[in-house]
């Protein structure tokens, strides 16, 4: 049971700007392949005349990531899109531990008194067994 964390991919570009050439090529050639390979991601393509072309990705936990795709070839945009599709919406900051468990100890957590004989069983020069 695997749920992809990417909700929506919005591709905003303008049909006339020169730096949106890669975006236009991507839309013409590779967008359909990408959509077919990732059937659980919704891809919106909306041409608008405005600033630089961007690729907006929204995730299931609400984080929104914008990436500029100005002056990029369509292969690079495909790679970017697959990378975004594989990510989850968590912040990309330094993570302290590369593992996470909910049940860290099964046989009982070690404390300094495990595997030590109790006071009734040790034999020493001073302590007599009772």
């Amino acid at each position: 049971r695997y749920v992809r964390q990417l909700q929506r991919l919005q591709l905003l570009f303008s049909p006339t700007a020169a730096d949106a050439r890669g975006a236009r090529q991507f839309v013409e050639e590779a967008a359909l392949d990408f959509a077919r390979r990732h059937p659980d991601v919704v891809l919106y393509v909306s041409p608008r005349s405005g600033p630089a072309p961007t690729l907006v990705a929204e995730y299931l936990n609400g984080t929104v990531r914008e990436e500029l795709i100005a002056s990029k070839t369509s292969e690079e945009i495909v790679q970017l899109a697959t990378k975004l599709a594989g990510q989850s919406g968590l912040d990309i900051i330094r993570i302290r531990k590369p593992f996470h468990t909910d049940n860290p100890s099964i046989q009982g957590q070690w404390h300094p008194l495990t595997n030590k004989p109790s006071a009734l069983t040790i034999q020493g020069p001073r302590l007599q067994p009772q």
Binding site: R4, I92, I93, F99, H100, T101, I106
Partner: protein, 155 residues
């Protein structure tokens, strides 16, 4: 010969049991453990797995992150070999160094493939007008361990 303080070593002398008796005892223990596994009397299992040049202690439903790229896509199930140790509440199976594949089965799913946080790699020499700054992002994969299963196949 008189007994001095150096005739016998200072640690207590341990008598090893008979090899025949030992073999019988071992067979008994092995049968008991087999029965326990077959009837399913264990609770949670944990395993020590060698993966991506590191050894991890894993249980079911926990997350592991590695600093490399796996060839599996997001959502693929992966079976991990190279299991060194498997344990439960009452017994542990220790491999020398690995356990057999017919004994243990560890399954994991690739949850996400992201990049790490942008690390800065800067070189600077003073008084030489030399500084280079590079931002490094490593690809990472996150796996979630689904199940750890053992089969009664000891001998």
């Amino acid at each position: 010969v008189a007994k001095t303080s150096l005739t016998s070593p200072p640690w207590p002398e341990v008598k090893l049991p008979d090899p025949v008796e030992e073999a019988k005892y071992h067979a008994e223990v092995v049968q008991k453990v087999n029965k326990m596994i077959a009837t399913g009397q264990y609770g949670r299992l944990f395993a020590v797995v060698h993966f991506a040049s590191k050894q991890w202690k894993i249980t079911s439903e926990d997350l592991i992150m590695m600093d490399n790229v796996l060839e599996a896509e997001c959502g693929d199930r992966i079976r991990m070999e190279k299991v060194l140790l498997v344990g439960a509440d009452d017994f542990t199976l220790i491999g020398r160094p690995l356990l057999g594949k017919e004994l243990v089965r560890v399954e994991a799913t690739v949850v996400e493939k992201t990049e790490s946080w942008p690390k800065i790699n800067m070189r600077f020499w003073k008084r030489h007008n030399y500084q280079r700054k590079k931002i490094i992002r490593n690809p990472q994969t996150v796996l979630r361990i689904n199940t750890i299963e053992i089969f009664p196949g000891l001998s």
